[in-house]
Symmetry: C2
Subunit: 193 residues, 2 copies
Amino acid sequence: MPKQVDHAERRRHLARAVCRIIATRGLDAVSLRDVAAEAGVSMGAVQHYFKTKEDMLVFALEDVNERGAARVGEYLAAIPDAGPRDTLRGVLLQMLPVDEESREAVAVGLAFWAKAATSPRLAEHLREGYGALRDLIALLLGQSKPAPGVDAADEADALFALAEGLSSHILVGHREPATAVRIIDAQLARLLP
Amino acid sequence: MPKQVDHAERRRHLARAVCRIIATRGLDAVSLRDVAAEAGVSMGAVQHYFKTKEDMLVFALEDVNERGAARVGEYLAAIPDAGPRDTLRGVLLQMLPVDEESREAVAVGLAFWAKAATSPRLAEHLREGYGALRDLIALLLGQSKPAPGVDAADEADALFALAEGLSSHILVGHREPATAVRIIDAQLARLLP
């Protein structure tokens, strides 16, 4: 079905343009005109795929989430016999803005977040994404044989919040990625001795 | 010096108006006109105190930080013989959006954050604030007699990032304040047995 492939590919191409604009110039700069210019297509073509700015944002967030999942896949591919603990570490580390792609992902997430404060639809979308990621962390933590006495539910919440906070601190230049990785590894060593 | 008192009081009154607009309608809604209307003053009066939107944002952030410090003070006033551990807990808990005032503070911080991505001046301001809060957490942790083997510097970074991440998760409705308090208390119990 080549037509459908084209369709998905074009949406993705446009979503990437939205992501680049958000990461470099901020959410305010996302307009029909600028997305068309950044993607090298007509404004009509953008409108064909996205009816509203909210549509663009939703798809941009889905795109960065897909790319995050792909980064976890690449990370695991380099580890022979990767188990749930490796996967858990990979999921947490891909949340950190350590290169251009992951910085873009965090910037898009943040812009989305700021917009969700005044849009129930975006807030609902964000909560769904948060819930899925948190449940994945809890599942992997449970499968990784945590130390006796570890409250897996609360510690999953804590790991998720910790990675999110560290990610913000790196993006604004308050902390280095290496510090964040060391902190996450110390928590994993404590929970999974 | 009644004139100076008036001056500071008026700036604060305007900063509160900016905070309320950000928390309820988002950063995009902050304009000279809307701030004047919200504060019940003339546009000229707003311009007298704030030359640019950035000025308003900087002062709004300082105002929420001052109110956060006041909340820590109130929290400690209710504890007989409060020590550094109580202060540390108070500092971390005041970061959580648990009522209207603290939700407003987190919303303002977030809006500031999103804007800092494209403003070096705001980013610098944010890093200074982050550095001061992090150093306070590290100081209090060190004074609270941490368990042997605790890396106070990294654990201070981790507590700060954890509270920040939890704060985001509460604001968007992903987690309840009670869960965040329980998680912070569990970390304090581990670090300060």
